[in-house]
Amino acid sequence: MDDRLVIREFVQKLLKRKGDGAPFSDSEQLLTRGRLQSIDAVKVLVFLEEKYGIDFAETGFDQSQVESVDCIVAMIQTKGT
């Protein structure tokens, strides 16, 4: 499946679990808007480590890297294996 679709599905699941079924665009800043919280950023981080083998130990992790679907996809393309 396309990376973007995989990420969208994962983010959608996170939002749904919080009772947030409102639509969102790929560029929507979900953390800045308060729709996702830092604990959700942790879940995205673990997902990226496990699914794409990205290691944040060296480069560090910034919540803004997982701010939106677009940001996550861009990061996978830059850091992904």
């Binding site: 679990r17 919080k18 009772g19 800043q29 800045t32 308060g34 919280q37 830092s38 604990i39 942790v42 981080l45 673990v46 480590e49 944040f56 130990a57 560090g60 992790f61 910034d62 919540q63 803004s64 701010e67």
Partner: protein, 489 residues
């Protein structure tokens, strides 16, 4: 049900807020809100916000000028009284030369941090530039230890404590600036200046974080600005309500004179009928206090803390929004929290964000990666326990100056227990991760109410140990906790 109407969703108001007269009305309402909230600097604050409203393209530059203006003309947080005492004790002059000296230290600190910022943004591979915040905090710890322990006197001692005062007040602002320096397209030093104790945030805790956050939340169109300013007005109304609640708590629960809390009532010492509840500190120090009073004191203190932190942080955020930055609220419906972690996130959002950015993620991405549960617990305690302790110990450096380093550390035991319990409890709560209930049947509503009650009870009891003073040992607070449950020790 909403207490404050959703002005920002009314199309006619949003359109009106974009016109010149609409902007003037919003600014007028904002000024009135500041006056009602007893904001001493309401004229300057309104003037700064007005400039940013009418010259939106220069907003960040005006923010930098505002930060500089506030530093020069309203830098009370530089703790002049303390520095004068140190200078006097060391036989140094306390007149304009001390002022010049402190601003000289400020310039030197800014210069050094500026150099560090430049090196980090150039991304060389050395450890200090890879882990700038670690080096920043370690550097401050060494500075504080040097000021407290080195056998020095005279001007050197004044200089050292001056540097401690400056660094303690800017430490976490510098941390966000250095984090931004490592970003792909950081702001330059001039725009960074506006994020270092911005004029809306007079606190050692960076409300609205740093430049990266401001870039994301800045209003870029007249419509965005109008909506953001309407949200600011809405928040100011909420702050006024919270302020009223806080005053009512003091009058009707603690028995403060009405005239002390509600200035418009007049003069004299009018005492309204009240519960006569003692403050938590007094209750803790009074073993013979009847049990209901002890409980009432704890609950009133917790309620006061909730209302106080929300009122304080939301006022700052209202000013920030009025300036055109749509920041999230500092405290958002903490009573609805379903878990301990959620409460911590909702209660004091920007403090939690600071801990998450600089303590949680560095540990989570580096250690115990093969052990999922230990990893989460370690990172959570790094933030809620270690980070929390570091923040408060550094912020309250005056205890080190007054008591000496070792007694200040020993006196920190009560807060250490508070932070340890907090970190472990949030960590365990996150490991359980029970998920969220969706709005639905009555049974689920009851479950939600019970979960919230459990969370609030925990934090209310923990409030006993949330003591930032250093006068009493742990036993005093522990004994009070036992007394609440009729256990005598």
């Amino acid at each position: 049900m909403r207490i404050v109407p959703q002005f920002d969703t009314y199309p006619r108001l949003v359109n009106f807020g974009q016109s010149a007269s609409g902007k003037a009305v919003l600014l007028g309402v904002f000024a009135l809100g500041l006056v009602a909230g007893h904001e001493r600097l309401w004229v300057e604050m309104t003037a700064a916000v007005a400039l940013m409203t009418y010259f939106p393209a220069q907003r960040r530059l005006i923010a930098s000028c505002g930060a500089l203006y506030w530093l020069i003309f309203h830098g009370e947080w530089l703790q002049w009284g303390f520095l004068r005492d140190v200078a006097q004790a060391e036989g140094q002059r306390t007149d304009w030369t001390l002022t010049l000296l402190v601003y000289g230290i400020l310039a030197a600190v800014f210069f050094v941090i500026g150099l560090f910022f430049r090196r980090v943004s150039m991304r060389p591979g050395s450890l200090p530039t890879k882990r700038p915040v670690l080096f920043l905090t370690a550097g401050f710890a060494l500075l504080l230890a040097a000021a407290a322990l080195l056998p020095i006197g005279g001007m050197t001692r004044v200089l050292l404590w001056g540097a401690v005062v400056v660094m303690a007040n800017y430490l976490w602002y510098f941390a966000y600036a250095l984090k931004d320096a490592a970003a792909r397209t950081p702001d330059g030093p001039l725009l960074q200046l506006g994020t270092l104790r911005p004029f809306w945030g007079d606190s050692p805790l960076p409300f609205t974080k740093g430049a990266a956050y401001l870039r994301k939340i800045e209003a870029h169109t007249p419509r965005d600005l109008s909506i953001t300013q309407l949200k600011a007005i809405k928040l100011l109304i909420w702050v006024a309500i919270l302020h009223g609640l806080e005053q009512a708590l003091h009058v009707f629960v603690y028995g403060d004179p009405l005239t002390k809390r509600f200035w418009f009532i007049g003069h004299g010492d009018w005492i309204a009928p009240n519960l006569g509840v003692p403050t938590l500190q007094a209750a803790i120090l009074t073993p013979a206090l009847p049990l209901p009073m002890a409980w009432a004191s704890l609950i009133a203190h917790f309620a006061g803390a909730l209302v106080g932190i929300a009122g304080y942080s939301d006022l700052l955020i209202a000013c920030c929004r009025m300036a055109g930055f749509d920041a999230l609220r500092g405290s958002y419906r903490p009573l609805q929290s379903q878990s301990l972690g959620e409460f911590w996130n909702r209660y004091n959002f920007y403090f939690k964000e600071l801990m998450v950015e600089f303590f949680f993620f560095p540990v989570f991405t580096r250690y115990f990666k093969s052990y999922r549960r230990i990893r989460l617990l370690a990172a959570t305690t790094a933030a809620a326990t270690l980070g929390n302790m570091v923040f408060h110990f550094f912020r309250d450096f005056r205890f080190v100056a007054d008591m000496g380093l070792w007694p200040a550390l020993v006196g920190f035991q009560v807060y250490t227990v508070y932070a340890t319990i907090l970190g472990l409890a949030i960590g365990i709560s996150q490991l359980r991760d029970p998920g969220r209930d969706r709005p639905g049947s009555d049974a689920r509503t009851w479950r939600r109410v019970l979960a919230s009650a459990g969370v609030l009870s925990f934090f209310c009891l923990l409030e006993i140990f949330d003591q930032e003073g250093r006068s009493y040992g742990l036993g005093v607070y522990w004994s009070f906790l036992l007394r609440l449950f009729l256990i005598r020790n």
